[in-house]
Amino acid sequence: MTASRAAAKVRALFADAGVTGRLHAVDLDHPDREVSVGADDPVVLASVFKVPLVVALHHSGLDLTRRVTLDHDRSTGPTGVGGMLDPVTMSLRDLAYLALTVSDNAAADALVDLIGLDEVDRTVRELHLGRTVVVHRARDFARTMAEDAAPDELPRALADPVVLSRLRALDPAQTNRGTPRDLTTLLRHVWQHDQCAPIRRIMALQVWPHRLASGFPFDDVRVAGKTGTLPTVRNEIGVVEYPDGGRYAVAVFTRSASTAFTLPAADAVVGTAARLAVEHLR
């Protein structure tokens, strides 16, 4: 199977699942072997931005065992500290753990507030991710969605396609953006540098099984990933490691036609598309 044939099959999988998708998959040890489907198109990162954030944290020189307190004014979200009610004190590296394993918005925003968006941007430049831009924190997604949906109310308005068409949070030009290729480049950096070993550990501890990991239902294959989700947006980037030593970075970004929050087929196609691409690379 040629790479273009594999790409055509990936496209067909996306169409069949009712999504438009972009993908880049690359063999970490033979980077000339790759599968691209719109790999250089700008895409909305959603919570995938937490990966460049944590990479920037690890290059910041800060003491990662330093403890900070997240008080009542922290960002909110459905998971981790974001969903808790009382002040929490923990180390920077544990905040990074929650930000990546359960996509904790409060933990991620606490790290941004500490190191600054400029520092994330500097890291992105240093790694030559030319088309990646991080301008929003998690709480900025929530804020702009509420502003742009008004006068309609969240969360119900987020199932209305007309409301979605005016959300800045869903327009790559107006929010955190990247390209599938930029994100696999970032993963290669994480998998090649000792300084990033803790990031590899926590990405492999991510709890969500429904996207990238669902495509590799094997006990001897390790999947380390980070999802990104917003209305109609279902993303995941990650590295798949086989027992024979094969290691593949995959970045999948999708937009669903349906505005339903719960769409198992759209989640699963992230895994099946990644599997098809990885099998082509093996």
């Binding site: 699942a17 959603a46 969360p155 119900r156 209305d160 007309v162 068409s165 989700t229 036609a257 339903a260």
Partner: protein, 332 residues
């Protein structure tokens, strides 16, 4: 940019300013030729006399002939001036036509609009759409009958300017008109026992096959319909794919199958019954590539809204609660 590119673009710029200048000088020349008086011509042009005189001198230099004989009291056209006056009137009339024509395109009053409509929109809606559009726009409307998936491809490659699409579809790059909904019912053979009741529950359809549009024409909608049927207790014995309404009707009349229909002018040889609780809806709106909303596109979207509303479609209103799960990563 190379050196030669720079000089070429500089030349092109100068050429275009010369051309605009020539037309401007000719307008001044026309005013003076008609008034035969520099003061009156300047007043008519809302300018002072010295720049007007300079303009005429520059035109005479440019053309290499004298246009006027002038002394302290009189201004008269020379032979060359009289001849050139005729040519100038032609040129200026041409400029007026050119600008008016560009303006008509700019304001969406000229050209054509390529619009797509779904195959199941119905002949009455199509018939009403043309006059409703004509009342709003002088542009020629070219209608094409194509499904949602194909309309999206055509909008993306610019072979379509605007479409009428059934939700759901990826709206991330589209501008949308109002979303209109029509509750769906089913077509049954007239002699089917279910046709005896005023409405039908989805669960009552168990054992019957479902006739539905081909999945490839709108995969997301196809799946949404089947998921909703299953959620309301109806798992079709089989799903037949029918691209056109006549074929769908044939499968219904042959027995053992039902087809979905919005109840607008249902075929007379079948019975149409609404579904209790309106579990299934078509949601429809006009859509165009974002940033390409011309006046003709707006006129078409308004015409679609008028026609579909007249057919009984209503503005969408969300009434169901929504509970995002933690895996959604946003909202608490």
């Amino acid at each position: 940019m190379s050196k030669s590119d720079i000089s070429l673009s500089a030349i092109a710029e100068q050429l275009s300013s010369l051309l605009v200048d020539l037309l401007r000088h000719l307008r001044y020349f026309l005013a003076v030729a008609e008034e035969l008086h520099f003061g009156r011509a300047a007043a008519r042009l809302h300018m002072s006399q010295p720049p007007l005189s300079q303009s005429i001198q520059r035109l005479e230099r440019e053309l290499g002939v004298r246009l006027f004989d002038r002394d302290a009291r009189h201004v008269a056209l020379t032979d060359a001036g009289r001849q050139i006056l005729t040519e100038a009137r032609g040129l200026l009339a041409g400029e007026d036509r050119l600008r008016a024509s560009a303006g008509r395109f700019r304001n969406g009053e000229a050209g054509s609009l390529r619009a797509g409509v779904p195959p199941d929109l119905g002949g009455r809606a199509v018939a009403a759409l043309l006059p409703a559009f004509r009342r709003r726009s002088p542009v020629e409307l070219k209608l094409k009958e194509i499904g949602t998936a194909e309309q999206l491809r055509a909008l993306a490659d610019r072979s379509l300017d605007v479409g009428v699409l059934r939700f759901p579809f990826d709206v991330s790059w589209l501008g949308l008109g109002p979303v209109l909904t029509s509750p769906l019912g089913v077509l049954l053979p007239r002699d089917h026992p279910l046709a005896a009741a005023p409405d039908v529950r989805l669960a009552d359809l168990n054992g019957l096959a479902l006739v539905l549009f081909p999945r490839a024409t709108a995969p997301a909608l196809h799946d949404e319909v089947l998921t909703t049927c299953a959620r309301h207790g109806y798992t079709p014995a089989d799903v037949h794919q029918a691209g056109n309404p006549e074929f769908a009707l044939g499968l219904v009349l042959a027995g053992g199958a039902v087809a979905l229909h919005d109840g607008v002018a249902p075929p007379v040889d079948a019975a149409w019954r609404p579904l209790r609780g309106t579990p299934l809806l078509w949601r429809t709106s006009a859509a165009w590539p974002r940033g390409r909303q011309t006046p003709a596109v707006t006129a078409f979207a308004d015409a679609v809204t008028e026609v579909l509303t007249a057919q009984g479609m209503r503005h969408a209103e969300g009434t169901l609660p929504r509970y995002p799960r933690p895996a959604a990563e946003y909202l608490a």
